[in-house]
Symmetry: C2
Amino acid sequence: MTTITATLQQFKQHLADLARLSQAAALLNWDLETGMPRKGAAARAEALGLLSGEIFTRFVSPQTAEALAALTAPGVTLDATDAALVRVTRRDYDKSQAIPPALVREIATVAGQAQPAWEQARHDNTFAPFVPYLTRLLALKCEVADIVGHRGNRYDALLDDYEPGLTAAALIPLIADLRRELVPLVDAIIDRQQSQPAPAVPAVPVEAQRALALALLDLLHFDSDAGRLDASAHPFSITIAPGDHRVTTRFDVADFRSSFFSVLHECGHALYELGIPAALQLTPLADGASMAIHESQSRFWENVVGRSRPFLAFVLPLLQRHCPALAAWSADDLFRSANSVRRSLIRTEADEVTYNLHVMLRFELENELLGGRLAVTDLPAAWNDRCRALLGCTPASDREGVLQDVHWAHGSFGYFPSYMLGNLYAAQLTDALRRDLPDFDTLLARGDTQAPLAWLRDRVHRHGRMLEPHELMLRATGSAPDSRHFLAYLRSKFLGDARS
Amino acid sequence: MTTITATLQQFKQHLADLARLSQAAALLNWDLETGMPRKGAAARAEALGLLSGEIFTRFVSPQTAEALAALTAPGVTLDATDAALVRVTRRDYDKSQAIPPALVREIATVAGQAQPAWEQARHDNTFAPFVPYLTRLLALKCEVADIVGHRGNRYDALLDDYEPGLTAAALIPLIADLRRELVPLVDAIIDRQQSQPAPAVPAVPVEAQRALALALLDLLHFDSDAGRLDASAHPFSITIAPGDHRVTTRFDVADFRSSFFSVLHECGHALYELGIPAALQLTPLADGASMAIHESQSRFWENVVGRSRPFLAFVLPLLQRHCPALAAWSADDLFRSANSVRRSLIRTEADEVTYNLHVMLRFELENELLGGRLAVTDLPAAWNDRCRALLGCTPASDREGVLQDVHWAHGSFGYFPSYMLGNLYAAQLTDALRRDLPDFDTLLARGDTQAPLAWLRDRVHRHGRMLEPHELMLRATGSAPDSRHFLAYLRSKFLGDARS
C-alpha cells in the first residue's frame, strides 16, 4: 500500500504541474482577448503553441502511462475521488496519446493566428481573409477526428470532447423533435407579443453599464477577491487558477441588455468553477462534468433567474440607480424588454425561445464541413440560406452571419450543441430545484440567490468532473436528460400555460 | 560549415523556445502586479515557480552546453552577431549552471509569496509580517552568491547580474566621491530655491492623469499598438514579447507629478526595448546592455528631457488641457514644481539631485545584510538612522521607509546601484548627444523628440546586449563612464553655471 500511496502522490504532483502550465496558457489566452497590444499577436500565437505542446507532451508522457497502469493494476483499491481521478485521466490520456504533439502544437499556433484574423475580418465585415485560417483549422481538426477514430462521422470524435458519449446520430432526432415543437412556438409567441411591444431601449454609457455589471456580480455572490471583470470582443469566462476566475463582457451603449445578460451568463460559468471543492483542484477533476452541464449553469443565472419576472422586479431599482435613462420603466416594461422574442441574427443576443434554432444552424454546417460535404468558401452562402430556413431572416453582412462567433477561430468544432443541451438541462434542473425550494420565486423577488446557489453547489458544482453528465443529471433531477422540461418552461413563461 | 549552420539554427530555436517560456512568465508577473485577484496569489506563486524552474532547467541542459561547445570549437568562425550571441549565452550559462534548479524554483516561489506579503505589509504600515519572507529570500540569495562565487564579498556575485564586471570595491570610492560633492550641492541648491518656492500642487483626478499619461506616451513615440499602460502599486516597465511592451504607473490624485514623471521614466525603458532590432529578438541579445544602461534611458526621458525648461514649456498647454486646475501656472511655475529639491523620504519621488543619496543608503544596507553584518529585524532602525545621516530626514513610518521599494520582495539584491549609475550615464550620453544635435534644446522646445530618439536608437538601442556596458559608453560618448558629466549637469541646471 505504501507504494500505491507514493505512486498516487507522484501522480497528483505530475497532474498539478500540468495544471500550473495550463494556468499560464489560460492567462495568455485571457490577455489575448482582453488587453494584448495588436502587434503582440504573432509572438503570442507562438508562445501559446509552445505551451500547448509542452502540456500535451508531458500529459502523454510515459510518466502518465506508468502511473495509470500502476493505479489500475489488479488488487489496487482507491477511494471514490481517486478512482474518479484515475478514470477521467485514463479517458483523457487514451484520447490524447493518439494525437502527435506536433499536430497539437500546430493547431494551437494556427488558432492563435486565426483569432486576430477573425477579429480583423469581423471588423472589416469580409469573410474572404479569414478563409485560409478556417480552412487550415478545419483540415487539422479533421485530421484529429480521423486519428481519434469514429464510426463514419468525424463529428462524433470532436463532440465527444465536450459531451462524453454523445453522437451526431443521437443529436439529429433530438434536434428534429425540438425543431418541430419550436418553430410553431416561435410563431405563437411572436404573435402574442405583438399586442404588447417592449419599450424602446435608451442609450446607457459604458461606465454606467460597467458599474451595473459589478453590482450584478455582487448580487450573485461572485467573490470579487477571487475574480475580475473585463471587456472583450466576445464575452467569455475563464478560470486562471483556484481563486482567480475571470469573466468578460461586451458593452453596447445602444443596448444595455447585451452586457446585462452576458454578465449573468458568464457569472454562472464562474460560479460553477468557484464551487468546485479544494480537494479536486489542480487535477483533471477540477472542471465541469461537460460543456452542456457548464452551459446549464450559465443559462440558469442568465435566463431562469435573470429573465424571470420576480428577479427583474427586484433588480429594477438597482438598474435605475445606475441607468437613470430607465427611470420611467415599470417592472413589466423590463420583463417585456428582457423577454422579447424575435427572429434575429446574432446567437449571443438571441432570446431563449429562438436560441436553439441558432445552434441547429451551426450544428448542421459543422457536420457538413467535417464530412467534406460543404467547402469553407461556400460557408457564407450556406449560412445565409440556413438562417432563412430556420429563423426566417437573412444576414445583411458576414459580420451578422458567419463571422459572428469566435468558436471556429479557436478550432472549436462540435462545441455548439452543448449550448442547446445547456438550455434543456437548465430547465430540467430548475424543475428539480423547485421541488426542494418551492419558494424559489419568492426568493428571487427579494434578490436572495443564496439558496438556489447552495442547491446548485450541492447537486452540481461540488462533483466537479467526478460524475458523467448523464449520471449527474439523473442524480440531480431524478430523470434522464430530455427536452420536455425546457418546452414546458417556455410554454409556461411565454404563453402563460400552468405556472406564469 | 553545413554542420555549424545547422547547429546554430538548432541553438537559436532552443533559445527562442526559452524566450517564449519567458514571455509566459513575464505576463504572469505583469498580471500579478496589475490586476490579479487577491485570492489568486498562492496559485500564481506556484505557477511562476514551476515556469522559472522549467526555463532554468532547459537553459542549463546539455542541449545548451553541447551547442556552446560546438560553436566555440577551434576553427569555427561566426559573424559578429552570432559571436556575441555565443559569448553572452556562454556567460549566462556558466553563471546559471552552478545553481541547482530546485534553488531557482524555490526563490521564484518565495518571491511570488513575498510580493503580496510586501503589499500587505506596506498597506498595513508594519514591517514585522514581512520579516519571514525577506529573511528567507535573503538566505536564498546568500546561498546563490556563495555558489556563484566571489572574492569575499557576496555583493559582487549579485551585482554582476545587473552590471557585468562591476564590484562593491569599485563602487565604494565612486559613491564616496559623489557623496562628497552632492551633500554640499544639495545644501546650495535648497538654499537657492528657498527664495523662489514652487506653487502648491492642485488635486487632479485619476482619469485626467490617465489621459495625460497616454498623451505623453504618444509624444515620446511610444507605439500604442505595441504596448499598453496600466496602474500598479509600484510603476514598472516590462517587455512581454516583441511587439508587446507594457508600462505601468501609480496615480496620486494629490500630486500629478508622480505619474507624469514615472510615465516618462517607464516609457524610456520601453523605448529602449522597442529599439532592439528584430534580428536579435528571441535571443539573450534582445535585452539592455546592463541595468544601468537601461536606467540611463529612463532617466534621459524623465529628467534630461522631461524636467528640462524647454520641454516643460512645450508640454504646459497639453498639461493644462488635461488638468484645468493648472490653468494659472506659467512655464516657470511648472519648471520649479518639476525641479524642486527637497530632503525627502521616497526614492521614486526624489528629485534628481538627492536621488543618488537614496541609492547609497540602499547599497550600504544591502551590502551589510549580505555580509551578515545586519539582521533583517534590525533593518527598519538601520534604514532610519542611515536616512537621517544621508538625507537629513527620518521616516515617520515603515511605509515611508524600509517598506517603500518592491525590489527586495522580488529578491533583487544588488540592483540599486544601477539606478545611480543610470543617472551618471544619462548625463554623459546627453553631453555626447548635444555634440551631434547642438539644437537639442530647440527641438525639445517644440516637442520634437524624434531626433534624440533616433540618436539613442543608433548609439544605444540597436546594439541590444551585443556590447559590454563599458564598451557601449566608450563608443557612444568617446569616454569611459564617470560622474563629472552628471555633476556638471546638476550645477548647470540648478545653479546656472555655464549652460542654464
